[in-house]
């Protein structure tokens, strides 16, 4: 064969020699190219549209700043994030997970929802792809004997246990003793898991002075919660125990004011909604005094400073405190993935799974012990804080060691808000 540009004859032997030399050079002389070709494809599944869109977008910021923050921590591993929207829909979450895997995702991360997490976990097990859950609390997800599913977030049982214990601390700190509570919760998978957890835990916690006089469930996509609040008001309960999401938490607060219901306050034993930025933006001063006992970040941790810096650089008009839980746990899930990839040095599913299982990260942003998975793939030791809305920002009021202010309970009359 004649080369048209040089005019030299090319023999098959010469081509083979050139190919061999090229292969040898790429392996020895240009290792960076090999590393570059083997980037880890991370499928990030979040509800960036639908009823949980705001929280999903908040979580996504944790993924958006991951490269910057991981780089600052010395993780030079190449991660390629593949984003997918679960549309706050379990079936969509399942199909998006399948598509991500078909498109080459080596590991999945997400999805801020227990129902979606359960669906994605099934896909991950079927396909043999590791799945690191950022936020989802239903206990059964890590009770199925799955091999590829990992969760760095407390289960509903743990959240409820911590949340109720903190309610006891709140009453002691404010020298109050409400006698009755009305328990309101969303009917999604998370809400049901929390209801079960609270139902099981409350009778054992004899140090709590109150009894739940009525449990009221409502649809996450409800347009109007006036009936629910009318029913809750009819119980004449001293305070409301609330397991909510964001939009419904806003609707509930408005309706409480419209129906002129003056109670001692709203306390969440561990759910999103009332500490989200949108809650403050929409309700203004009415957002104040709501209390959420939730897994929270340690404002004094070194990793928090790193994440805060990356967050401020990427989102200069925003503040980390309004996205703390969402950004913190989403970032930590990507930290787990990056750490495992660095140790595994492979995109192979089984090697990654083994590396994730052997995770032991002591430097954390979120409050709790080191990130270590137990045999079920669950991180134990994540802890909650009592976070109260004061001056329209989330403020840690308990435990006392981490408190930024003293708790206010009962809340003032809404007209003085």
């Amino acid at each position: 064969m004649q080369n048209p540009t040089t005019g030299r004859m090319r023999s098959r032997r010469r081509i083979l020699k050139a190919a061999a030399a090229s292969a040898a050079l790429s392996g020895v002389g240009f290792p960076a190219i090999v590393r570059g070709q083997s980037a880890l494809n991370v499928g990030v599944l979040l509800p960036v549209s639908g009823p949980q869109a705001f929280i999903g977008q908040s979580c996504k910021r944790g993924a958006d700043i991951a490269a910057e923050a991981l780089g600052a921590l010395g993780y030079k591993v190449p991660l390629k994030l593949m984003h997918a929207d679960t549309e706050t829909n379990v079936d969509v979450a399942r199909s998006r997970a399948e598509k991500l895997i078909n498109d080459g995702a080596h590991v999945l991360v997400g999805p801020f929802d227990s129902g979606a997490a359960a669906a994605i976990a099934q896909v991950a097990e079927q396909k043999g792809v590791p799945f690191v859950i950022n936020i989802a609390a239903a206990p059964q997800i890590t009770e199925q004997g799955y091999k590829y599913v990992f969760r760095n977030f407390p289960t509903a049982r743990d959240i409820v246990g911590d949340g109720l214990a903190l309610i006891g601390d709140l009453f002691r700190a404010t020298n109050t003793a409400p006698r009755t509570a009305v328990f309101m919760h969303v009917t999604d998978t998370f809400g049901q898991a929390m209801r079960k957890g609270i139902g099981a835990a409350l009778p054992k916690l004899d140090f709590l002075p109150f009894k739940v006089v009525e449990t009221i469930s409502y649809d996450l996509a409800a347009r109007d919660l006036s009936v629910e609040i009318a029913k809750a008001k009819a119980t004449r309960a001293d305070f409301m125990l609330l397991v909510s999401r964001l939009n419904d938490a806003i609707l509930l607060r408005r309706e409480i004011v419209k129906q002129r219901w003056n109670m001692m306050g709203i306390v969440s034993p561990g759910s999103p909604g009332m500490y989200e930025e949108q809650y403050y933006k929409t309700l203004g001063p009415l957002a104040n005094y709501a209390i959420s006992n939730v897994p929270w970040y340690d404002p004094k941790a070194a990793l928090t400073a790193v994440v805060d810096k990356a967050f401020t650089k990427r989102f200069p008009k925003d503040k980390l405190m309004f996205h703390a839980l969402n950004v913190g746990y989403t970032f930590e899930s990507l930290l787990i993935v990056a750490d495992a990839f660095r140790r595994a040095q492979s995109t192979d599913a089984n090697a990654l799974t083994q590396a994730i299982r052997a995770t032991d990260i002591k430097t954390r942003m979120m409050i709790g012990g080191p990130i270590k998975f137990n045999a079920k793939g669950q991180v134990e030791g994540n802890r909650s804080a009592c976070v109260q809305n004061l001056n329209q920002r989330p403020t840690v009021v308990l435990p006392a060691a981490s408190a930024e202010a003293k708790p206010v309970f009962p809340w003032p009359h809404y007209k003085s808000a």
Partner: protein
């Protein structure tokens, strides 16, 4: 539970039901005359709600004031939609009409998602959190205003169909399509006007509903379904029926939530639909075929 809670719930449900009724009135008008089921009805309403939000943000217009320009805008949009897109489908099989309107609905939802994003939005009026107290009964002020506005629009619509020549001509088209053509009525024009009136109705209803609920692009199909149920319960094509059924559905949602389970309140709506289909398929105020 004290009696005043039932009274509260009934009153609240009735007031919301009147707005639902106006929303369904638009659907009923369109079906009654043009014989096309507008499966993009809820999506058209959410579009009107977003326009009301824009007007509130730009000009500080209260949605109850904004309903006049928005009603006019929706009339023009509905008129043009009928003349350009829907009219060729009038004589085609029903399933093609259905597909056309579903396509319009999907386009509207996705356009709203693209433009406004997925987050819930609302308009905060000064009286948003106010209420009237009559003894133990507390009535939400915005609900009262919205219901009164719905009644006023419905009354204007009834007057239009009863007392104006165009209204009478539209009723003639609905009663006897062939006869209307024979006497020389411009049926195409009347169909477009009717569609415009239906769109204006749903636009006004959207402005009123914006005082009661937040708006998201994905809620359109839910409202289409609700309007459809109300029209079936009231009687296809019956204007009074739509208003009465709106009241029935509003009250049943409220009482169903109190008596059964709040999360199952839409169950009451569907139970009424099934009962009507079983025992009075022509609807509460519909005419037997």
């Amino acid at each position: 539970m004290p009696l005043d809670f039932y009274l509260n719930a009934t009153l609240s449900g009735a007031l919301t039901g009147l707005v639902y009724g106006l929303m369904a009135l638009g659907l009923s008008v369109i079906f009654g005359v043009v014989r096309v089921v507008n499966f993009a009805h809820g999506e058209m309403m959410t579009a009107a709600m977003y326009v009301a939000i824009l007007l509130a943000a730009a000009l500080g217009l209260d949605p109850l004031v904004a309903m006049f320009p928005i009603g006019a805008l929706m009339f023009v949009a509905g008129y043009l939609l009928q003349r350009t897109l829907i009219n060729p489908f009038i004589v085609r099989p029903e399933h093609t009409q259905f597909m056309l309107m579903v396509a319009v609905a999907i386009i509207l939802v996705n356009a709203q998602l693209l433009i406004f994003g997925p987050n819930a939005r609302n308009v905060q009026v000064e009286y948003a959190l106010d209420s009237y107290a009559i003894g133990e009964i507390i009535i939400d002020k915005v609900r009262v205003y919205a219901a009164l506005a719905a009644l006023a629009v419905a009354a204007a619509l009834f007057a239009f169909f009863r007392f104006t020549l165009t209204g009478k001509a539209i009723r003639a088209c609905a009663d006897n399509h062939l006869g209307a053509q024979v006497v020389g009525l411009n049926v195409k024009q009347l169909y477009a006007i009717t569609f415009g009136i239906g769109a204006a109705c749903v636009g006004a209803a959207g402005c009123m509903l914006l005082l009661l609920v937040d708006v998201t692009p994905v809620q359109g199909p839910g409202y289409t379904l609700l309007a459809f149920i109300i029209v079936i319960v009231g009687g296809m094509g019956s204007l009074t029926g739509a208003l009465v059924a709106g009241l029935v559905i509003g009250v049943s949602e409220a009482l169903g939530g109190l008596l059964i389970l709040p999360s199952a309140k839409s169950m009451a709506t569907f139970a009424i639909l099934i009962l009507v289909l079983l025992f009075r398929p022509e609807g509460l105020l519909g005419r037997r075929a």
